[in-house]
Symmetry: C2
């Protein structure tokens, strides 16, 4: 009989609440014969305050022993900026070589967008997850003095770029429009930019059915708001992907709907799925958090583990739920989770 | 009698056409007793193709001997990416220590915005212009092989950050809302980010009348489309400023209206004013280019040189011209320039 060993990191703020709904919908979606084993990890702001730990080695080791990880949200204003991001979130992405950071953006019917005219938006950003300015290779000298110098080094390797570019071509090839856009800033960041562009062009020769184009990151943000329907698959660097996917979330109904997967396609390490939003401490405990982004992240998780039909059922359930939402009658986190679980099992 | 010695770099594509209108409006705006001397520099794609020069030392020296520089647009698809950007545009910004890259964003009445509900947008981005990932400090080894490693180094100094932050506080203090937002990514780029944040907080103590906040760059892009009215003055790093100002231009009527100043506030070197848009070779020579961004850049130039009344007259002229535009009856580049010049002298 089949089984899924799932590690769960609820984290901070609304993380707990949305993860509970994600698990609810996951259980509802899974076939009867699949055994779901979950193990919860107490990581995040509270743990750090209590013990000073962000992600101890023993827990990192134990996390490895799972098929996938579901993460809610990490972060709290009481923790100095960077501590949990670098010590926990990014540590996981780097330790588990999550080189494909997958972020689909779709404007569902009946959801709010700040864009006039409601363009047709349905693209996916393949953000590199293990290189670029995120590597943590920087420092500062004469810190705190008028002579301080601080650096941040963006590291980019042919190995790292090629594997994510290849993944993006595969995804583009599998979609009806078969279009791939590289976003970078190769007119200024010429060394990293040329590496990306050369590999993008070379690998592209193996995918004659995929049409390609290139945009500078600044120009890409313009098209995100004036012509988002032009995008199908986008491949980009870690930092540009961070910026673009928040903007993409904003134009497709907000961060409350944006799902993501931190994927190690080789399967050497468990992949991790998390909503793009943060821990939103201002609404934690109020029942106002929308669990939809987490539920959609569960769909990405299922699809990654080979449960494509179940993933599709969740996506359909979300689309129907959104289509029938009444802005005048908001529901609680729990009610939305129940409604989605009911649709998925129904 | 007063005089302005202006260096003009029309550049490529529509650069020539829009600069001609900028000069027309400048002449119309200047008081009779001010003598305008212009000298034109043939720099850009054509020159590079003909001679291989981007910006020879002799011309760099000669440019210094001016009160300001007006630049149209630089770039052509026939030139490899980075050659003119690094060799000419950025070389000027760095050589003349243009540490304040000033980019106002205002949604004028009757202009198109992709945003539903037409929010009230009136903010200015103070983008650092001489540091960050733009310094050109990077390289690549084993170039073109499967083992290539390419780096880009972001350099940030207390000196460089403090002067631009201070400039931004001064600008915020002079505006009715007196609000300054720092945008960075200090939860990931911790060294550069902490340098920026510490200086921002410390200098802020000298400006108790200015209210401040901090946003990560990814979150800032969300607010640009969901709540742009929240911004008054934004101060940010060179690369984040590049991305944010294109997005800002997109939500305030498009890149055809976005002006910018590359300013050396000390006056040690001439400041340079240029539209944010590029050379748009696809519409060069068709008369379709909108010279408004260049005309607004001329207003920034005048204001920088102490001609505040004349700058204000140009801004009023642009606002009236935009208010009376009829989308069904587009005008040529020249007609728009004539109309603006007439309003300014009228
Ligand atoms: C919290 C932060 C480290 C993270 C990132 O920058 O990648 C977040 O913004 C995201 O997009 O997942
Ligand atoms: C052309 C390029 C070098 C430039 C930049 O990146 O600064 C442009 O995008 C701008 O914003 O002025």
């Amino acid at each position: 009989s089949r089984s899924i060993r799932l590690a769960v990191i609820p984290g901070d703020g609304i993380g707990q609440e949305v993860v509970a709904q994600g698990l609810k919908v996951l259980s509802a979606a899974l076939p009867q014969d699949v055994k779901l084993e979950t193990r919860s990890y107490d990581l995040g702001a509270q743990r750090w305050h209590a013990t000073g730990d962000t992600l101890p080695d023993a827990e990192l080791e134990s996390l490895k022993d799972h098929d996938a990880i579901l993460l809610g949200a990490i972060g709290d204003p009481s923790v100095p900026s960077g501590v949990l991001e670098r010590g926990l979130l990014l540590k996981l992405r780097f330790a588990f070589d999550h080189y494909v950071n997958l972020r689909p953006s779709k404007l569902f019917p009946n959801t709010a967008t700040p864009l006039a005219g409601r363009p047709d938006i349905d693209f996916v950003v393949v953000r590199e997850g293990t290189e670029g300015p995120y590597v943590g290779n920087g420092g500062s000298m004469r810190t705190g003095t008028p002579d301080e110098v601080a650096t941040e080094v963006s590291l980019n390797t042919a190995h790292g770029v090629e594997r994510v570019v290849r993944d993006a071509y595969e995804r583009a090839k599998a979609r009806p429009r078969k279009k791939l856009t590289l976003v970078h800033k190769n007119n200024v960041l010429v060394h990293a930019g040329h590496l990306w562009k050369n590999i993008f062009d070379r690998v592209g020769q193996e995918y004659p059915e995929v049409s390609t184009d290139y945009l500078h990151v600044d120009a890409a943000t313009i098209f995100f708001v004036t012509q988002p329907e032009r995008f199908d698959v986008i491949v980009t660097d870690n930092l540009f992907g961070d910026i673009l996917t928040d903007l993409a979330a904003a134009v497709t109904g907000g961060i409350g709907l944006a799902a993501s997967g931190n994927i190690n396609p080789s399967g050497a390490f468990p992949s991790m799925f998390e909503p793009v939003h943060g821990s939103a401490p201002d609404i934690a405990g109020t029942g106002k958090a929308d669990p939809t982004a987490t539920v959609l992240s569960v769909a990405l998780l299922l699809s990654h583990l080979g449960y494509g039909d179940e993933a599709a059922r969740i996506e359909t359930a979300v689309a129907s739920d959104l289509a029938e939402r009444d802005a005048a009658a908001p529901r609680t986190t729990d009610e939305i989770g129940d409604a989605l679980a009911a649709r998925v099992s129904g």
